[in-house]
């Protein structure tokens, strides 16, 4: 089955990004496909290349990058939301791309299920 994912909150402050990641990993392990993960609202902060969590904590941004790298998941950051919050090509982590909200609608059309994770 084809899933698409929407992440509405930034890393660390809310569990949404963790739950979305663990759901995604499980879905891939079960043989489902995750076409796209769309980052909206503060969710765009998941793509900051500048985050540096403590050594003993998970690295949320790196986890996403690895997911894109190993499974070809399309990580899309909403451009309008990103501009408001200071995410640009300058500080965009590897594996993410910045694009428009149309990519969210498209994901909703193409996937069998759209899963929303937020606050």
């Amino acid at each position: 089955m084809k899933f698409a994912i929407l992440v509405n909150e930034g890393p660390y402050q809310h569990q949404a990004a963790d739950t979305a990641y663990l759901f995604t990993r499980s879905a891939l392990e079960k043989g489902h496909s995750i076409d796209r993960i769309f980052f909206y609202h503060d969710g765009v902060n998941n793509s900051s290349s500048l985050t540096e969590p403590p050594q003993d904590d998970r690295n949320i941004v790196e986890r996403w990058t690895k997911l894109a790298d190993e499974h070809g998941v399309d990580l899309v950051v909403c451009v309008a939301a990103a501009l408001r919050r200071g995410i640009k090509d300058d500080n965009l982590a590897k594996g993410f791309r910045i694009s428009g909200l149309g990519q969210l609608i498209e994901a909703g059309i193409q996937a069998d299920r759209l899963m929303v994770f937020g606050d």
Binding site: L6, Y40, H41, A80, I105, G108, I109, L114, G118
Partner: protein, 129 residues
């Protein structure tokens, strides 16, 4: 060509936008509206529902000068021009807040929680923020 379920080459899915939060205290109402406006270009079957504090998004006479943020409420009036015409407000949510449709800045269809539940179950995609 007679099939309403098809547009040029594409599928038409039922998209529902669920608005449950008051405006201005958080950005969800505004950024939800930004998605809806983009969605309009995709010729999908779009419904907007206003439940719980989401009904406050549609209040008339919002004046945001005092808190120095954008007043986006007039945009709800423009939705019709984007062919977004299915706006549903839940009766129980209005009643709990002592509100009626006279308080709202756009014409809406009022439905019960049970009808709202049926409508939700018929969707392909439910977007909540």
């Amino acid at each position: 060509m007679s099939d309403e379920m098809m547009d040029e080459g594409g599928v038409v899915k039922k998209f529902m936008y669920v608005n449950r939060k008051a405006p201005h205290g958080t950005i969800y109402a505004l950024e939800s509206l930004e998605v809806v406006l983009i969605a309009a270009a995709f010729d999908q079957d779009v419904s907007l529902v206003f439940v719980d504090d989401g009904v406050y998004q549609l209040m008339k006479e919002q004046k945001t000068d005092g808190i120095e943020v954008k007043n986006f409420s007039p945009t709800y009036r423009a939705l019709e021009m984007y062919d977004i015409e299915k706006l549903y407000v839940e009766k129980e949510s209005l009643d709990a807040r002592g509100l009626t449709t006279d308080d709202l800045l756009v014409p809406v269809e009022v439905m019960s929680a049970a009808e709202m539940a049926d409508l939700m179950a018929q969707q392909d995609v439910v977007l909540s923020f």
